[in-house]
């Protein structure tokens, strides 16, 4: 599935977020190029999740522009942004707790269906065909993340790392062109993180651009094409993993703020 995008996928310019006297983001600018894995790292409180929230419509920015393939995103509701192909995951495990894995993913497929009220109440055959197509797609995604054996189980009863896979499956179901992952490796063992890393690379190989926030350096350096470093609500460095590791400002940000490094 080769997709050619001539414009930049995501363009963030001077994004700032203030609430109640606290400046969470002080003017952040970066670009995310299509078909890449870009990681955002930085000490706690650097503003990474705030940036995610602003990009995906959960927070209204105080100032700045966010554009996706040239189209402005600022002011849109999260569901409208999802309809434009940008899907995010959350820092704390976010699944539909009392539903099965399969049902979770079916909700993720919401945008891939088109049945409206009248269709549902009146038409039968077209609706049935769509439902079976969606169920088939759901199975494919569940297999892709490796949860085939958990299809019918209730999401909230799964172990933590598998719940995060459910989260990932739900996000993938929405067929994002740009996927924002908020700490996909949090709370996982090294082996689990490696598996997630491989999964992320496979997602990128299917022409989905990935932007992720992470704390685990090894994971980040291992899979990223570009690394963006944030501190105190600003971008302090941007580049390939190798250059970031040697960057003086980055080293200072991590070592200078004692106790912040994890």
């Amino acid at each position: 599935m080769a997709r050619v995008e001539s414009a930049l996928t995501l363009s963030v310019r001077d994004l700032a977020v203030r609430f109640g006297g606290v400046t969470a983001l002080a003017g952040v600018s970066f670009d995310v190029h299509p078909g890449t894995i870009t990681s955002v790292i930085g000490p706690n409180g650097a503003g990474k999740t705030t940036a995610f929230n602003a990009i995906t419509g959960y927070l209204r920015p105080t100032r700045g522009r966010i554009e996706y393939v040239g189209v402005p995103l600022t002011g849109l509701r999260p569901s409208a942004i999802a309809a434009r192909g940008i899907v995010r995951t959350f820092q704390r495990t976010s699944v539909f707790p009392s539903l099965s894995v399969a049902d979770n993913v079916m909700i993720g497929l919401h945008l891939r269906g088109s049945a409206g009220v009248l269709d549902v109440l009146l038409g039968r055959r077209r609706r049935a065909a769509e439902e079976s197509r969606l169920a088939h797609d759901a199975d494919g995604i569940i297999e892709f993340v490796g949860l085939g054996h958990r299809r019918g189980e209730v999401a909230s009863e799964l172990p933590y790392s598998e719940q995060r896979l459910v989260e990932l499956a739900v996000a993938l179901a929405a067929r994002p062109r740009l996927l924002l992952l908020d700490e996909p490796g949090a709370g996982m063992t090294t082996a689990e993180k490696a598996a997630v890393g491989r999964l992320i690379r496979r997602i990128r190989d299917q022409s989905t651009t990935v932007l992720l926030v992470e704390h685990d350096m090894r994971m980040v350096m291992g899979i990223s094409d570009t690394v963006i470093v944030m501190n105190h609500g600003r971008v302090i460095a941007e580049g390939a993993p190798a250059s970031i590791q040697a960057h003086p400002d980055v080293i200072r940000a991590y070592l200078g703020s004692a106790g912040d490094r994890d």
């Binding site: 959350f90 976010s94 009392s98 919401h110 009220v117 549902v120 439902e131 179901a173």
Partner: protein, 311 residues
């Protein structure tokens, strides 16, 4: 259930007036049907989208009054008044739906109660239109051509059709993409939004359908009892509806119907033995006990028990 197994109850239901002896029992069944529709409608909001609306009696009452007034004052046919009642309640539901967008949880509950309270007060005080506390007597029974549907045995079929319709609508909605969106909103709204579920659209949709259905029940009620008064807004109706849904099983389709049957038949059975106040008292205690012991309701509990018994 086997084919035959399903056939028998259907046959029983279709021929009910023939074998059910007294008109009193028939009355109970008809009321159970009307409440069943109400319970199904409340379930859409409460069980599926997870919004507790305690003002549902308002939609019921708006439907009843609209239908009654149109047939009494403007002498419209029942078959015109019913859709209008449905539309009027649906409109009220739209209003509540839009309000729900900004409010959640307890605040939404309070607004729905307040809304019902205002409507109730209007019906009591707007004497010119609603005749205040005296109510509207003599609401005409529906007629199908030359035949009047006044008799209980005939009205039963009208209610039966309505219940089936309500059930079908609920079933179709719930088993569809729309139903999944409803549940998504209940389970995790932020996550639902992140995959493109338009919260506004689906909350309002749930509210409109729910209210419209309640309005239909109201109209049926008005033309059955042939008398409408502000008593339809009594909070005890809302309470009864909530108990039916919660006890029967919110978030299931059979639950509200089962709840409606039980809680229409039970008071009637108890009435012979004890007074209305004791019954409501029992309801209160029952609600507390349910929350502690049967939080998911009777139908899911039965299903779980059956699953547990058959390994």
């Amino acid at each position: 259930m086997t084919r035959a197994g399903r056939f028998v109850p259907v046959l029983l239901a279709l021929t009910l007036p023939l074998w059910l002896g007294s008109p009193y029992f028939l009355h109970v069944v008809i009321m159970a049907g009307i409440f069943g529709i109400l319970a199904l409608s409340l379930n859409l909001l409460l069980g599926y989208t997870g919004q507790l609306s305690l003002g549902h009696a308002a939609f019921f009452g708006i439907g009843a009054y609209t239908s009654a007034l149109l047939t009494l004052r403007l002498e419209w046919s029942f078959w015109l008044a019913l859709p209008c009642a449905v539309a009027a309640s649906g409109l009220a539901g739209w209003l509540i739906g839009r309000l729900a967008l900004k409010l959640r949880g307890a605040y939404f509950v309070l607004v729905t109660i307040s809304f019902a309270g205002v409507i109730a007060l209007v019906s009591v005080n707007w004497m010119d239109v609603t005749n205040g506390p005296l109510g509207l007597p003599g609401v005409p029974a529906p007629a199908l051509g030359p035949w009047s549907l006044r008799a209980k045995s005939v009205y039963y079929y009208l209610v039966l059709v309505a219940v089936l319709l309500a059930y079908l609508v609920c079933r179709r909605l719930v088993a569809s993409r729309i139903g999944r969106a409803f549940v998504a909103l209940r389970e995790n709204e932020a996550l639902a939004e992140s995959v493109g579920v338009d919260v506004t659209h689906y909350l309002v949709l749930a509210a409109v359908v729910s209210a419209a259905m309640a309005g239909m029940a109201g109209s049926l009620y008005a033309h059955y009892t042939r008398f409408v008064s502000p008593e339809v807004f009594l909070f005890s109706y809302t309470v009864t509806m909530v108990i039916m849904v919660v006890a029967g099983g919110k978030g299931t389709l059979a639950g509200p119907l089962v709840g409606a049957l039980i809680f229409t038949a039970l008071p009637e059975a108890l009435r012979a033995v004890t007074s209305w106040q004791w019954q409501m008292l029992a309801y209160g205690v029952l609600l507390v006990l349910l929350v502690f012991f049967l939080p998911r309701g009777i139908v899911p509990a039965l299903a779980a028990w059956r699953a547990w018994k058959a390994p």
